[in-house]
Symmetry: C2
Subunit: 577 residues, 2 copies
């Protein structure tokens, strides 16, 4: 019975006819997992085989808990960048301390994710707005590209910041290592052109559309194999920097030792990696689920990603998340269920057992080219233009996050972005939109006098407040109210239309008391219309309602009838909306 | 011409018959300025005469720029506490370095205030909600009282935190210095009883009400003079700790030397002092202006307080702000114009020239009693109960700020309070209120189905969203929308009523696109009603409107007519509100 609950739903519902599609998808995405795993492990400052280890058990763990049908979990470029950025201040890249720290970082972020899943904190993904995510990913992509330039060009270039590094790359370009550069740039060009033209060319040659598209996705593996062949046949091992010895065999599972100091130092980076890995995976899984008409369970995703990272930690230490490119490949290849992910993972077993020697001859410049082309695909220029056009503040948040990542690194960049988007939220709510409204002739509707031809009365002023009333905007409301009264000096009855006011906090309530008192001394009565139920409930707990010089009306129209003509429809008694 | 613009308005409009009232008020509030100035300087860890200096030129500077008619600016208990808390980590209290730092702190906060005034940043006061201010002031009052217990009881008590200090006070109580304790406690009891009963008693004895009330306010000065008399006649100088030598003469104005490191260390405390001084002064001035039917200019207040602090810095270094107690006295005594403040300041001149010897014999325990009684008046229990009842989150913000000040000090406490109130704002906006609504039979009004007897249609679902749509709440909206569709499976037409939606950001827009697409595949059309003008303007810049499966309606009623009966009033074309 209990065991039955642990077995994932998709296994119980599995239909035999899905198997063929899942196997095809597994093969194709497995072919992408190998080069990406090697490349992203290297990007994270870890031995390349850790990338293969991270593509084995974690994928099975995700399939056990996760809820997305075809998302491909595994090494991801941005997380690898965040790993090296979090760990390089703590230990020399590649040192045993570095690897221990990487294992701990991955474990912690896995534990965070799993715990967030258990506590059903999927809503935490709402901390990040799309523009902030886009700006962050674009900035990370730029950092990744600059970071790989020395490897692809065969130049020496150090530097704390991306701009210094870029400067050194350009400065040392004349000393570039020609074979490295030739291999790297050729790979990059082949990758880009194959992605752009290969599918169309194959399609025109009569290849079915889907196969034509998938063939472009197989290019990374093909190029890796070609490069290995070239190195082998032309004995280029001494001319190029190659991956070097990859231990053969399956990963040995080890739990890291407890180190309180290290854990403390890694808490924040692990949390950020967990959050970003989750948000990125969720947006990938969501767009997939939407296209397939499936429902996604954010808390299930957390559990899946948590389990994947915990198992990735004990099998080597590279943080994993959903990968945009592999998920696209997996879905295109027809993956129906998480079994595709499991089968792709199982593909790693023969590779780890029998093919590690093969990959040891892979030149690093080829991996750098793969990383650069993948990172270039993460840029989102269109998103920026789109955001900028639709909402200037979104565009600014995106640009600032991008610049923050480039100038101050990934952690400061993301903090800046989150801070900025919340500051915008607060800033907007502190400048509420307030409209003087009048009645559309012949109807019961009240509309903004600036946008519509409406009827107004000289001694009756209707103000619609388009925001909840809080400590941070009540002064602005009061200022506007007084300036409108100055512009309408004949006003004797002021009606506040509160149809958009969902809350009035204590500070705002006090000020309303004061406004009511001030207006009384100026012989102006204060009324309210269209007060929402929850607001009225709360107001009736205060003394404002009994001290109010005016009345509460169900609607602006009823208020006008009552105040102009003394008519008082029975409905006026019924005030809550 | 230019000079004319500098002369404050109140001088130009001054009317001769005001002079009598202003002079009376000046005399009464000047009598309060002396003991408070001495006490608050001592509280700030500065020589007592600095408090008198801070009551001279700063008051004149405020009257030149400020806009409040009767607010009494000068030393204030809470600012003195913040001064000692900011400076004691930097220098030994009372040392020359401490005094230099105090001058710099006051100067910086003055410059901040003045600059905020020049840039018209009066709206910054909205950073602080009333509950946070109340919690902060109450916490500061508790710290002040505990800090003065050793002085009033004549016990030794050290301790980093208030609770440790309180514990030591209680522990060392048996060693208390009896004469000190007797003087101090007698002063405190006389102050409290005179405030509670003196006005009523005098009033019953036939004294006019106003004079009876003012007499209680003169008690601090009277008690100071009595204590000095007792010390003098009974030769208690050696038995009690007294104020000691006060230099005679007017303040010598000195500009502090430039010290970059010191300035850097003081920037944050100075900013907090400036902000809190401003917010407190503004709320005092506002409640006064409201009672008098005057308009207050927040930016003018900033300039006035800035000028007051800059001049206070160069005449000794005690931060100044509006004082609640003195303002009340000043207003009660009939102050009509800022001249009352100027005259009260001028009263300091003879005191500084001829009476400093007199005050040198004042026992410190008397000043401690004055501080304690003043601080006790700052507690706001009623405000707490009130906040707690009206809005639980306000009550929590107040309690947390109070506890934060007590446990972690004034700066952490205020940061906690501000952070908490903004977090609440964000938290609320991320859980939007959404109501399923139906039409009130026989009307055009749509109301919450849970609160009203309304008509609904099985294939038509009306949802009213009561919050602007942002990245942090769009998921919650989507979840609710899908769960309502599950509960109303017959729905073919979904109408979102956006009467409360003032903005839709880019993230929310993308998700709406997705929702529209998802619903299309489920054969449900998505409509919108009561879309506000600014929202519609912005939406028409995106592609949502053209992709929308449904339509935009002026009102929910029109939507129902059109969708149920195919009726399509001409007004439906007119969509902006």
């Amino acid at each position: 019975m209990r065991l039955n609950r642990i077995v994932p739903k998709w296994i119980k519902n599995y239909q035999r006819q899905w198997l063929h599609a899942d196997m095809t998808a597994a093969l194709v995405s497995g072919m992408l997992l190998v080069p990406q795993g090697l490349a992203y492990a290297l990007l994270a400052g870890l031995p390349p085989h850790v990338g293969l280890y991270a593509s084995l058990i974690p994928l099975i763990a995700y399939a056990t808990f996760g809820s997305s049908s075809a998302m491909s979990v595994g090494p991801a470029a941005v997380l690898s960048l965040m790993t090296v950025s979090a760990l390089s201040p703590l230990a020399a890249v590649g040192s045993p301390e570095y690897i221990t720290a990487a294992i701990m970082l991955t474990l912690l972020s896995g534990v965070f994710l799993f715990a967030m899943g258990l506590f059903k904190l999927g809503a935490l993904s709402n901390l990040l707005s799309h523009p902030v995510i886009n700006g962050f990913v674009s900035g990370a992509a730029a950092l990744i590209i600059v970071g790989q330039l020395p490897a692809i060009l065969g130049v020496e270039a150090d530097g704390e910041t991306a701009s210094v590094k870029l400067f050194h790359v350009i400065e040392n370009l004349p000393q570039a290592h020609i074979p490295t550069m030739a291999f790297g740039i050729a790979t990059a060009i082949l990758l880009i052109t194959s992605r752009l033209w290969l599918p169309i060319t194959l399609f025109r040659l009569g290849v079915p559309k889907q196969i034509a598209r998938l063939s472009a996705r197989l290019m990374p593996m093909l190029l890796v194999l070609c490069a290995i062949g070239l190195v082998h046949w032309f004995k280029l091992e001494d001319k190029l920097v190659i991956v070097g010895n990859i231990p053969s065999g399956l990963p040995k599972l080890i739990l890291p030792g407890f180190d309180g100091g290290l854990i403390y130092q890694l808490l924040l980076p692990a949390l950020i990696i967990a959050l970003l890995g989750f948000v990125e995976s969720l947006s990938i899984a969501q767009s997939l689920a939407a296209r397939r008409g499936e429902r996604l369970n954010a808390d299930g995703e957390l559990l899946g990603l948590g389990a994947a990272n915990i198992t990735s930690a004990i099998s080597g230490g590279l943080p994993v998340a959903g990968s945009f490119s592999r998920t696209a490949v997996n879905a295109e290849a027809g993956a129906v269920s998480p079994l595709a992910g499991v089968l792709a993972a199982l593909l790693m077993i023969p590779i780890l057992l029998y093919l590690t020697d093969l990959f040891s001859k892979l030149p690093l410049t080829v991996l750098a080219a793969i990383i650069i082309v993948a990172a270039a695909g993460l840029f989102d220029f269109r998103g920026f233009i789109h955001n900028w056009r639709y909402d200037r503040t979104d565009g600014i948040a995106m640009a600032c996050t991008f610049a923050g990542v480039l100038l101050f690194g990934v952690e400061v960049g993301i903090a800046l972005g989150i801070g900025l988007s919340f500051a915008t939220l607060i800033w907007r709510s502190s400048r509420p939109h307030i409209a003087v409204v009048g009645r559309v002739p012949g109807t019961e509707h009240f509309r903004n006098v600036l946008r519509h031809d409406v009827e107004t009365q000289s001694d009756l002023l209707f103000l619609r407040i388009d925001e909840s009333l809080f400590f941070n905007n009540i002064s602005a409301v009061e200022d506007r109210l007084l300036s409108e009264l100055k512009r309408h000096p004949a006003t004797r009855e002021l009606v506040l239309i509160l149809s958009s006011v969902s809350r009035i906090d204590g500070t705002a309530l006090e000020r309303l008391h004061q406004i009511n008192k001030d207006l009384r001394s100026r012989d102006i009565r204060l009324h309210m219309a269209e007060v929402k139920g929850p607001v009225l409930d709360r107001l009736s707990r205060s003394k404002l309602l009994e001290k109010l010089t005016g009345r509460i009306f169900l609607s602006a129209y009823i208020a006008e009838l009552a105040l102009l003509h003394g008519e008082d429809p029975a409905a006026a008694a019924d005030t809550a909306t």
